[in-house]
């Protein structure tokens, strides 16, 4: 039964993926992409990875989807006519097809040739978990055992926003924004926002024991912000630049400070003192949640401060 379900999921993944790439117009492709993301969230649950499922739904499908749709909104003006890319006569098509088929073949070969052995790392994580300061193994890996990866990953996120800031700085005129002046929506928002904030806090709190954590919480926070933004409430860099920047960097800075503080004791980087591990991780997560929320939100809002419509060169 479950195998059937899995196979169904598998085929829907492949179908949605193909539709994402081939559906015309592009808008439908993006919609299929978001659906693919939601499907993936289900798959992650089947793979016993609820953390990823949450993240996939919130970030992979949610934020990425919103970003794509937002971009499409600009494309719309251009009457972007895209013809079907699948032209059997073009060499490009055949090269792409052959490459992708050979990739599939090779990967399949690799998969079949590799025996399924339990990884020793999972065991080590289980053994070290009591000393990690948290109960949830994934949070332990992310913020303790492999916290260095996470630190750099936040760096990647900051770089993305930095480039956004750079490009947005080119011109400071404000673009007219899509607004949702619907009163009903406003009312819904009034209910939804506190609810989402609560969800976010819960996810953060839960992270130490069960699925959830800074990323998922941050994503929900960002989603809240995006909703507010769409309804006309501007929480952007322009409102208070310094404060906003500080908010964006808060998570990264706190993380960095905690990481460096180990050096004072002569410990390796990112070492948490034994008793403080849990608290430090919580502090980091708190700061990260806020910053990730702000960063993801800004990823969405920043491009809205680009050249005004009428000044765009054709």
């Amino acid at each position: 039964m479950s195998v059937l379900l899995d196979l169904l999921l598998l085929s829907s993944l492949w179908v949605f993926a193909l539709l994402t790439l081939t559906a015309l117009p592009l808008f439908r492709g993006v919609v299929f992409f978001i659906l693919l993301g939601l499907m993936l969230a289900l798959v992650w649950i089947r793979l016993d990875a609820p953390d990823i499922a949450l993240a996939e739904a919130a970030i992979g499908a949610g934020i990425t989807g919103v970003l794509l749709l937002d971009t499409l909104g600009h494309l719309h003006h251009r009457a972007d006519q895209e013809s079907s890319p699948i032209r059997l006569k073009s060499s490009r098509f055949w090269v792409a097809l052959i490459s992708s088929l050979s990739l599939a073949g090779l990967l399949l070969w690799a998969l079949l040739d590799t025996p399924a052995t339990p990884t020793m790392l999972a065991e080590q994580v289980a053994r070290a978990l009591p000393n990690s300061g948290v109960d949830h193994p994934i949070t332990a890996v992310l913020l303790n055992f492999r916290s260095y990866d996470t630190l750099l990953e936040i760096g990647v996120l900051v770089v993305a926003i930095l480039v956004g800031l750079t490009l947005a700085d080119k011109d400071s005129a404000q673009l007219s924004l899509p607004k949702l002046p619907n009163p009903l929506l406003q009312a819904c928002l009034a209910l939804l926002v506190p609810l989402m904030l609560m969800v976010s806090s819960y996810l953060l709190w839960a992270g130490s024991k069960q699925p959830g954590g800074a990323f998922q919480a941050g994503a929900v926070l960002a989603a809240t912000g995006i909703l507010l933004h769409l309804s006309g409430f501007r929480l952007t860099l322009r409102t208070s630049e310094r404060l906003m920047r500080a908010g964006l960097l808060l998570g990264f800075s706190v993380f960095l400070l905690v990481a460096a503080s180990a050096l004072i004791d002569g410990q390796p980087l990112l070492t948490y003192p034994d008793h403080l591990a849990g608290i430090l991780i919580l502090i980091i997560e708190l700061a990260l949640t806020l910053s990730i929320g702000l960063i993801l939100l800004s990823l969405f809002t920043l491009p809205h401060f680009a050249l005004p419509e009428q000044e765009r060169p054709k």
Binding site: L97, A104, I161
Partner: protein, 101 residues
């Protein structure tokens, strides 16, 4: 042996292949970006799926995927910034064919 893990490893392989296909086929930048994301999801599935085929949950690859998702969204956002800007300046969603001078 976990059949889900094997099946979704296969699914991951399929997504990788489809993603690569799209990435190489399309010239439309946003389609390319979608293809990249599909391929990324495929890699993530393969990473967790392959490691969990013995039936045990492995938190390490799961954590890696979480990291990977955040990196992917950062890359996507950055790409979208550049593409939008390019769109504003040139009005095109494709790159000029050949840039050799």
């Amino acid at each position: 042996m976990s059949s889900s893990a094997v099946i979704f490893s296969l699914a991951g392989i399929g997504l990788c292949a489809i993603g690569l296909f799209g990435f190489m086929l399309h010239t439309h930048l946003i389609r390319k970006l979608l293809a990249f994301n599909i391929m990324g999801s495929g890699v993530f599935l393969l990473l967790v799926g392959m490691a969990q085929r013995s039936g045990h949950t492995d938190p390490v690859p799961q954590a890696l995927v979480l990291t990977g998702i955040v990196v992917a969204v950062s890359a996507t956002a950055l790409a979208l910034y550049l593409i939008r800007r390019w769109l504003q300046l040139s009005g095109s969603t494709e790159l000029p064919e050949d840039d050799r001078r």
